[in-house]
């Protein structure tokens, strides 16, 4: 007889993002349909075609860690450390009582320490190679956040970093889940972190024509599935989860938000930035996650969409949902967290998994804001929970994340 698969549950949540510095602030903003998007303040945008984005506001890492520790890590690692601290506190886990080799950390980041790279490069050009700071490399490397979390909490189990652009955090959660399922670990810190709201990050995404240019109305710029959408909104932040093997969580009487029931990973194998027109890879990722969870497609109640607000992406995702669910697509509730927080790139799947866990916990689905004229001509005619949150208990949900490169990840989350 086959051994039953080890189940993986979420026992802690943490985030910093444009809506707040904690899950409490984040959730309040989401259910109230608030936008965290505004004109950028951290650098001069006068030369940039796009002048707004989703900055983490009033972030003061020295309120959490001493100033020398703060100085030695890039902003994306600071976000990860602060969100991890919240998630670990929320989980109630005491790593002092755990086998350190059974506790690990797998995080996602699309870009890593971009600000640090920019500052280092500026020094290289203006002052020469001998003046480059010794911490440039340890601060900018994309695995710096996972490394620093392991050091802070003494986690000696599996520790890696996943970089699949905008699906990085979702893939990290999938890998962390797999590590627990396969018996490589019992507790994993996972999710993602990103801090690419920098001159190079903004210039680069403007150059590849990915961003909304709605400078006159930043809060209305991220409008997934709306006819007037014109691109995504560049944002920053972190979304971190504590995953735990189910029996391990039960044994310590942990507070369980939800279970990670299924994972679906695919690639479009099509284009480096554009989604497959028919949503081929996205559809198969959803199917695979549903299959992995052992569900029937018509049991799924809610999809937290990738929903970036790009002209092509939202159409392809809707097509994919219709391919997978057929008639049931019309009964599904779908919403886009990015309508409120913008696109956290490699952290987005983390912040969105946090939102899904909170939706299951509170029996409320957050809306897709700025959705006034659904893009019906392009097929965006499903129930995207426009503008107002909905009180409804959901037990089976999907969270979609798709990344440049054609990476697709779908997580199936279920109530326990």
């Amino acid at each position: 007889m086959a051994t039953p698969r080890r189940r993986v549950v979420i026992t802690g949540l943490g985030t910093v993002n444009p809506l707040g510095l904690s899950c409490e602030e984040y959730w309040r903003g989401l259910v109230n349909g608030q936008s965290g998007i505004a004109l950028l303040t951290s650098f001069d945008t006068s030369q940039f075609k796009v002048k707004f984005g989703g900055e983490v506001k009033n972030f003061n890492p020295e309120a959490y860690f001493d100033k020398v520790s703060v100085r030695k890590v890039d902003r994306f690692t600071q976000f990860a450390l602060v969100a991890a601290e919240e998630a670990i506190r929320d989980s109630g886990i005491d790593f002092g009582r755990e086998d350190p080799f059974r506790c690990g950390c797998i995080l996602g980041s699309g870009i890593g320490g971009l600000k640090e790279f920019e500052l280092g490069h500026e020094t290289l050009l203006s002052k020469g190679p001998t003046r480059v700071n010794p911490f440039v490399i340890p601060k900018m490397i994309v695995n710096s956040a996972a490394g620093n979390i392991s050091i802070r909490y003494g986690l000696r189990g599996p520790n890696t970093t996943v970089s699949t652009a905008c699906s990085s955090a979702a893939h990290a959660i999938a890998d962390a889940c797999t590590a627990i399922r396969c018996g490589y670990a019992d507790v994993m810190i996972t999710g993602g972190s990103e801090a690419a709201v920098t001159p190079m990050g903004l210039a680069g995404f403007i150059a590849c024509r990915a961003l909304s240019e709605r400078n006159e109305d930043p809060a209305g710029a991220s409008r997934p599935f709306d006819k007037d959408r014109d691109g995504f909104v560049l944002s920053e932040g972190a979304g971190i989860l504590v995953l735990e093997e189910y029996e391990h969580a039960k044994a310590r009487n942990a507070n369980i938000y939800a279970e990670i029931c299924g994972i679906g990973n695919t690639a479009d194998a099509y284009h480096i930035t554009q989604p497959h027109e028919e949503g081929l890879g996205a559809a198969e990722a959803m199917r695979a996650a549903i299959r992995d969870a052992g569900w029937n497609p018509d049991e799924v109640q809610y999809i937290n969409a990738h929903g970036t607000s790009t002209p092509l992406g939202d159409v392809a995702e809707t097509k994919a949902i219709k391919i997978v669910f057929g008639d049931h697509a019309r009964k599904l509730m779908i919403s886009s967290t990015k309508s409120m927080i913008g696109h956290l790139l490699g952290a987005s799947g983390g912040a969105e998994a946090v939102a899904c866990a909170l939706s299951i916990r509170h029996g409320v689905l957050h809306p897709t804001i700025n959705l006034h004229r659904p893009d019906i001509e392009c097929g965006c005619d499903l129930d995207y929970i426009p503008n107002v949150a909905r009180e409804v208990r959901v037990k089976k949900v999907l969270s979609n994340s798709f990344g440049f490169g054609g990476h697709n990840c779908c997580l199936a989350l279920g109530a326990v």
Partner: protein, 106 residues
């Protein structure tokens, strides 16, 4: 920038001012109270940070040496930097460098 030397025309280096400034820089850089920083305090003693040791690692020291180079407008070759163990070593080294430069200027 106050580099601890006397105004132009005076041939003496103000050693006390340099010591005070170096200790200020160490205190800021390593977030250590000035009272804990003695001439005998080591940078990388390997133990816990405290009265006898700053608790730095090798990268911390490289970064701090670069800060000293900027502050006093001097060059500290790696071969010299490797010999610096204590706060006193840093102070004496900088005084030596500034005196050397003063002598060359005359």
């Amino acid at each position: 920038m106050d580099n601890g030397s006397h105004p132009e025309g005076c041939n003496v280096i103000d050693k006390q001012a340099i010591e005070t400034r170096v200790i200020e820089l160490i205190s800021e850089h390593f977030n250590t109270p000035k009272d804990n920083i003695k001439r005998s305090t080591t940078f990388q003693g390997g133990g816990q940070a405290g009265a006898d040791d700053i608790g730095a690692d090798s990268l911390d020291v490289v970064e701090f040496i670069m800060e000293l180079e900027d502050e006093f407008d001097i060059q500290i070759p790696d071969t010299d930097a490797e010999k610096i163990r204590t706060v006193g070593d840093v102070i004496d080294y900088i005084i030596g460098k500034l005196e050397e430069r003063k002598n060359q200027e005359q």
